[in-house]
């Protein structure tokens, strides 16, 4: 299985280079290749239908227990076939649809990247490899939504989708990590799913459920993160059909299905998903009803359908899962077909607004037939698969006996009515009505574009008529993997005249009613804040404002603020260390003046005087001189404290600095009078810092020192270092490496000064 994935990625890479240059060869080769992949997976149907589960393990990152573990059971096989078959159809379709795009090579490449990633998601049995593929689907979706990257709307939609789905992905990752921590399963799904009790005992279950649900919600466009999906319609239509109707958005649902055995006993799981799904379903249906743009209608109905699937997982139980599985299949078929047909219509007529379309039944009969059948399936009309699905949904809700099921049922009824109204709208206005397209010459789409939707619609019909033959065998096993029990699905087209059927009929009538009232209902005014996009923009702009504000405070350009920040933060830490450590001042200063000599007081007085002088002078020369006094006083102190070498060095260094200062001082402009307030504004900071440093150094100086090193150096100086001046011996021998670094610094300084002074300033635009 790994091999099949890798070959798809490789094909994607090659397509980027060769597809555009050799389309005549590339398309057939690619199609054959995908057929091969389909055949490869189809081969597994026989064992899987026996209830077998195939597992392949490929080690990857042993250090983290992350491997490519692939698992093929009913559920993954169903999705794998869905992905590959749709992928092939989409590829054929887009070979015509994107015929004139300059970047069709990239397009095909991204499409294959997506296909590989999506296959990876549904085949992975290791949570992290699943996550990797999961994020890759988001990323390839980003590239595909932004495919028409010269349009602002595409760029915005792409970025929005990426942020929402990746943000959800991060939550998902955390959830996965919790699951691993709870079970110690090394992220292996096969092991994890067998240990719901470990998850329950760990106390991490609630967090894991919420985090995983956020991931699934963002990916499957559930309220309140649903808005990226309608915006993603900026993508080329084949992409919408493939990613945003049939496969990628179902990844969230797939994940719920996959993890259902782990959580199916937990109330939170049911309520969270059920309520989210029900809300999304209702909202999506209502929004779909408002739209005129064919693609946006389809996008909102997709949101709504995904809501139904979430709701059914939330409802729980075998019947609900069976119904969800059938409905998922039905939805993929009709929605894929509708999208592709919408793309063809757009391609041929130049519009996809229903109000501007008409007469398509006559102009584009094949496409129109696909639309008709698929819309019927969406509306749940006999004898299509959509009808079978809807019946099962009603049935499951009606008989479930769960506390929320009647509310769900009522909402589903409403949503269903909207679906029907929308279907009527599409079929009547776009296909049948005689309108402004009547006199235009519009041709049927190319066979590559007309065939895929027609095929999907045909399957909808076929599967509706004989569900037990066409879809039940595989779906049964898929559903069984979700509730982790023996398969219990039995599909029939006709269940007889019972209450559920009556409900279906009632929905149809209600839908027709809604259609009639359509214009009036659409006029209901909608405040801006009801629009989720409004909130997205608000969050984005708030973040940017916040970023700007915080940066203007932190990075305000004033060096003295930076210095003050550093010093204040440092002072806070130091005060904390002093107080927390209970470090008071050392013993009362009675012995303060012990051994004090007049020289020391003189030095002290000199420093203090010089400092006082520094604080209030206007002339640079005097500042320099005062600074010199301080430097020489310190040199004096070194002499006093038995450090002749240091004293001489300090003396010479000070002199050198002074000479240099004086050399350049006369080039500077005179001081201008400064505002006293800015001058002394920071005085408290300076004093605080001084006080703290005084206390710290006093405390430290009062400590005793271990003198092992001192003795070693003094003793070995002559015998090993061959010198009587221990300081010099340390410098050139014991710690010569320091000195080597020191002279390197001096040399670099020299180069720096050469660079500063000799360089002809580079005035070119940086």
């Amino acid at each position: 299985m790994l091999f099949s994935l890798l070959s798809i990625f490789l094909a994607g890479l090659l397509a980027a280079f060769f597809y555009r240059r050799y389309p005549k060869v590339a398309l057939p080769v690619l199609s054959l290749f995908l057929l091969g992949i389909i055949a490869y997976f189809a081969r597994f149907t026989a064992p899987v239908l026996q209830g077998e589960v195939l597992i392949q393990e490929v080690p990857w990152i042993n250090a983290l227990d992350i491997h490519f573990t692939f698992l093929l059971d009913g559920l993954s096989l169903f999705f794998a076939l869905l992905i590959t078959v749709f992928g092939l159809l989409i590829l054929l379709y887009s070979s015509k649809y994107m015929e004139h795009s300059a970047q069709r090579g990239r397009f095909v490449s991204y499409l294959l990247l997506f296909m590989g990633s999506m296959l990876g998601v549904v085949l992975s049995a290791n949570l992290i490899s699943l996550f990797v593929f999961w994020e890759l689907t988001s990323f390839s979706s980003f590239l595909l939504i932004g495919f028409n990257h010269r349009q602002e709307a595409s760029r915005r939609a792409a970025r929005q989708a990426l942020l929402i789905t990746s943000g959800g992905g991060l939550a998902l990752m955390a959830g996965f990590i919790f699951l691993e921590i709870a079970t110690g399963s090394g992220y292996q799904l096969t092991e994890l799913l067998t240990r719901p009790e470990a998850v329950a005992d760990s106390g991490l279950r609630t967090a894991a459920i919420i985090l995983i649900a956020i991931g699934a919600i963002s990916k499957s466009a559930q309220f309140p993160l649903h808005f990226w999906l309608p915006n993603a319609m900026a993508a080329p239509t084949p992409v919408s059909a493939y990613l945003h109707a049939a496969t990628m958005v179902k990844a969230g649902v797939y994940l719920l299905f996959r993890l259902n055995p782990l959580f199916q006993e937990v109330a939170l799981w049911h309520h969270l998903l059920g309520i989210t799904g029900a809300l999304t379903m209702t909202l999506g249906a209502w929004k779909a009803f408002q739209e005129d743009d064919l693609k946006r209608i389809l996008a909102y109905t997709t949101v709504s359908a995904l809501g139904i699937l979430f709701m059914m997982v939330g409802l729980g139980g075998e019947a609900a899962v069976n119904a969800a599985m059938v409905y998922l299949m039905a939805h993929a078929l009709y929605k894929g077909a509708l999208f592709l047909a919408a793309g063809s219509i757009d391609h041929q007529t130049g519009s996809r607004r229903i109000s501007q379309l008409s007469d398509l039944m006559r102009k584009m009969p094949a496409t129109a037939a696909a639309v008709l059948l698929s819309a019927a399936s969406m509306a749940g009309v006999l004898p299509l698969l959509g009808f079978v699905g809807k019946e099962l949904l009603y049935d499951a809700l009606y008989h479930s006996g769960q506390e929320w099921s009647m509310i769900y049922l009522a909402l589903l009824f409403m949503a269903g009515a909207f679906f029907k109204a929308v279907s009527i709208d599409i079929v009547y206005n776009a296909l049948i009505r005689k309108g402004n397209l009547q006199d235009k010459t519009i041709r049927e789409a190319d066979v590559f574009m007309a065939f895929p939707p027609l095929l999907m619609a045909a399957v909808s019909l076929l599967a509706g008529i004989a569900p037990a033959l066409v879809v039940e065998p595989l779906l049964k096993w898929s559903a069984a993997d979700i509730y982790a029990a023996e398969p219990s699905m039995k599909l029939k087209l006709w269940h007889g005249f019972n209450r559920v059927f009556l409900l279906s009929v009632a929905t149809l009538l209600a839908g027709a009613g809604l259609y009639v009232l359509r214009d009036r209902l659409r006029q209901v005014s909608k405040p801006a804040w009801l629009d989720a996009d409004y909130w997205y923009d608000a969050v984005v702009s708030t973040t940017e404002t916040l970023a700007k504000a915080s940066t203007e405070i932190l990075q305000n350009g004033y060096l003295r603020n930076y210095i003050a920040t550093v010093i204040l933060a440092f002072s806070a830490l130091l005060i904390y260390a002093l107080v927390d450590g209970g470090l008071g001042l050392p013993r009362p200063p009675e012995g303060l003046f012990n051994g004090l000599q007049i020289y020391e007081l003189v030095i002290f007085a000199l420093v203090v005087l010089a400092v006082v002088f520094l604080f209030n002078i206007r002339s640079r020369l005097i500042v320099t001189a005062t600074f010199g006094i301080i430097g020489y006083s310190i040199a004096l102190a070194y002499t006093l404290f038995s450090a002749p070498d240091v004293a001489i060095t300090q003396f010479l260094a000070e002199t050198l600095t002074l000479i240099l200062l004086i050399l350049i001082i006369h080039r500077l402009p005179p001081y201008t009078l400064r505002n006293t307030i800015t001058r002394i504004k920071y005085l408290p900071v300076a004093i605080l810092f001084g006080v703290l440093m005084t206390i710290t150094s006093w405390i430290i100086l009062e400590q005793d020192k271990d003198s092992a090193l001192q003795r070693y150096f003094l003793e070995k100086s002559i015998s090993e270092g061959k010198g009587q001046n221990a300081v010099n011996v340390i410098l050139v021998d014991f710690r010569a490496l320091d000195t080597l670094g020191e002279i390197t610094v001096l040399t670099v300084t020299m180069i720096g000064i050469i660079a500063l002074l000799a360089f002809q300033t580079d005035r070119a635009e940086l």
Binding site: L64, R159, A569, L709, L737
Partner: protein, 508 residues
């Protein structure tokens, strides 16, 4: 034993210093200097590989400089962590020198660009290898003074202004370090890190050690650009040419991080709850405010500069969590970050070559015109943002796992949020520089097409490709580095190994 080992540790340092000296001796001959620089970079890389292999196979390598036994002389120590850092610095130095051959103006090359670049790497390498706190200060200064020079080299107004801030804050940081060293010496009577580790562990008054800890935390914090000490970085990094920024972005702050990791695993572990909680808070604030800064910017280089700050937070987060996995995560993150961040700067330089700007609003159209450049950027940018399976994801993943295992939920939440904001910021660059059309496109302001760009600037692209390949290896085969990081983390968390290697090495 030590006589055989000597060259292992010193070879990288020698190579760089000798190259530096010869560049000075051949001052007038920029071409000769370029040859010296490239040769020495290759030599440095080879010797770093050799050192790493030696450490990997035979354990910690130690050399007592001047044959004075520890703790009296200066000890150079190469443990796994140090040798990994030396190796990665060599990789970066090599790529940068390759890049600089075509990036740096002739005037800069004539005024000491190569020797200063080499000596900066020399300082960086020395900082990694030293086992003595005062010696560390000296290496830091070598590195810093060299970086001062690199920042001003060119004398543009921005460079001069940025360098004022950089120099001042760096000097303050060095002052704090020196004070901290003085305190440690007074309290323990030693400067050798291994010896200090033992002395601190046995010290009767940890409250006093706390004082030193504060000085080191702030001193290294400034160098590593932690919150709230990072202001110098965005002020100065965007000003010099790309080769310089790339090198600094990759290496300099990481030396601060390295020092923090060394000190807070080897020395200051006497009071984990307070010191490392403090680090954790700082880590969170650093990543958050760093990324906010990036969001506020509109200039390619400034955005990338703020991201450095933000990413430092992740590295410190691993240190602060202080579990083997977390430290391993930090190490992985450092390596990943150095590669990716340097590469992003290099790519921004190539983009600048095509259109002459760094301002996002004046850039565009790269996606259509330079597909290969786009690919290079995509790999690095989305790696930084943590899109799996690119290397940044593994770093973030390991840290998140470590954080959740340690029940530090809040910091993990912050780190994930910051990851999302990073993606936001990277996608902003992507959208405006790569996807949207360039304002000047219609006027034919592109100087090159994909082919002529490569022909005239092949070294820029090759060095970026080199780093990208490294990133890809890390992304698809992270196993090697993760396992190595884990081993390194175990070594770091058991200071006794280090202490034994240094102090018991005297006799043989």
């Amino acid at each position: 034993m030590s006589d055989i080992l000597t060259p292992f540790i010193l070879l990288p340092l020698w190579v760089l210093l000798i190259a530096f000296i010869f560049c000075i001796l051949f001052w007038k001959y920029a071409k000769v200097q370029a040859v010296i620089a490239l040769t020495s970079a290759a030599g440095y890389l080879l010797s770093a590989v050799w050192l790493f292999l030696a450490v990997y196979q035979d354990g910690i390598q130690v050399v007592q400089i001047g044959n004075w036994p520890a703790p009296y002389g200066i000890t150079l120590v190469a443990d796994l962590f140090a040798s990994i850092m030396v190796l990665i610095s060599a990789v970066i130095a090599f790529a940068i020198i390759l890049y600089s051959l075509q990036d740096i103006s002739a005037e800069r090359k004539r005024n000491g660009f190569y020797p200063v670049l080499l000596v900066m790497v020399f300082g960086v390498c020395g900082s990694f290898l030293t086992g003595d706190v005062f010696n560390l200060y000296v290496w830091f200064e070598v590195m810093l003074v060299a970086s001062f020079v690199l920042i001003v080299l060119g004398n543009r107004q921005g460079q001069l202004e940025g360098s004022v801030k950089y120099v001042t804050l760096s000097f303050i940081s060095s002052g704090f370090l020196l004070t901290g060293i003085a305190i440690l010496y007074k309290l323990t009577g030693t400067l050798n890190m291994a010896d200090l580790s033992e002395a601190i562990a046995q010290h009767p008054d940890p409250e006093l050690i706390n004082l030193a800890t504060v000085f080191f935390l702030v001193g290294f914090g400034i160098k590593a650009a932690l919150f709230p000490f990072f202001s110098w970085l965005p002020a100065s990094y965007p000003t010099p040419p790309i080769s310089v920024v790339g090198l600094m972005a990759g290496l300099l702050t990481k030396v601060g991080v390295y020092a923090l990791m060394r000190f807070f695993t080897l020395l200051f572990t006497y009071d984990l709850p307070s010191t490392h909680s403090l680090l954790l808070v700082l880590a969170g604030l650093t990543m958050f405010f760093g990324v906010l800064g990036a969001l506020a910017q509109r200039d390619f280089k400034k955005i990338l500069s703020f991201h450095i700050v933000s990413q430092i937070g992740y590295m410190i987060m691993g240190l602060a969590l202080f579990t083997p996995l977390a430290i391993a995560g930090s190490i992985f993150y450092i390596v990943h970050h150095i590669l990716v961040k340097t590469n992003l700067f290099l790519i921004s330089g190539i983009v600048k070559v095509t259109q002459g700007h760094y301002l996002l609003s004046k850039l565009g159209g790269v996606y259509d015109r330079y597909p290969y450049l786009t690919l290079l950027f995509a790999i690095s940018a989305f790696s930084l943002a943590g899109i799996p399976p690119l290397s940044g994801f593994w770093g973030k993943f390991i840290l998140a796992k470590a954080g959740l295992e340690a029940n530090r939920y809040f910091i993990v939440a912050v780190s994930l949020l910051v990851g999302l904001l990073t993606l936001f910021s990277m996608s902003k660059i992507w959208v405006s520089v790569f996807w949207s059309s360039a304002p000047g496109e219609a006027k034919g302001e592109f100087k090159y097409d994909s082919r002529t760009l490569f022909k005239s600037h092949y070294l820029l692209i090759l060095s970026s490709v080199f780093l990208t390949l490294c990133t890809l290896v890390l992304s698809f085969y992270p196993e090697a580095l993760i396992a190595l990081s884990k081993r390194t983390a175990e070594q770091l968390l058991d200071p006794q190994i280090y202490i034994d290697a240094v102090l018991n090495n005297n006799n043989n």
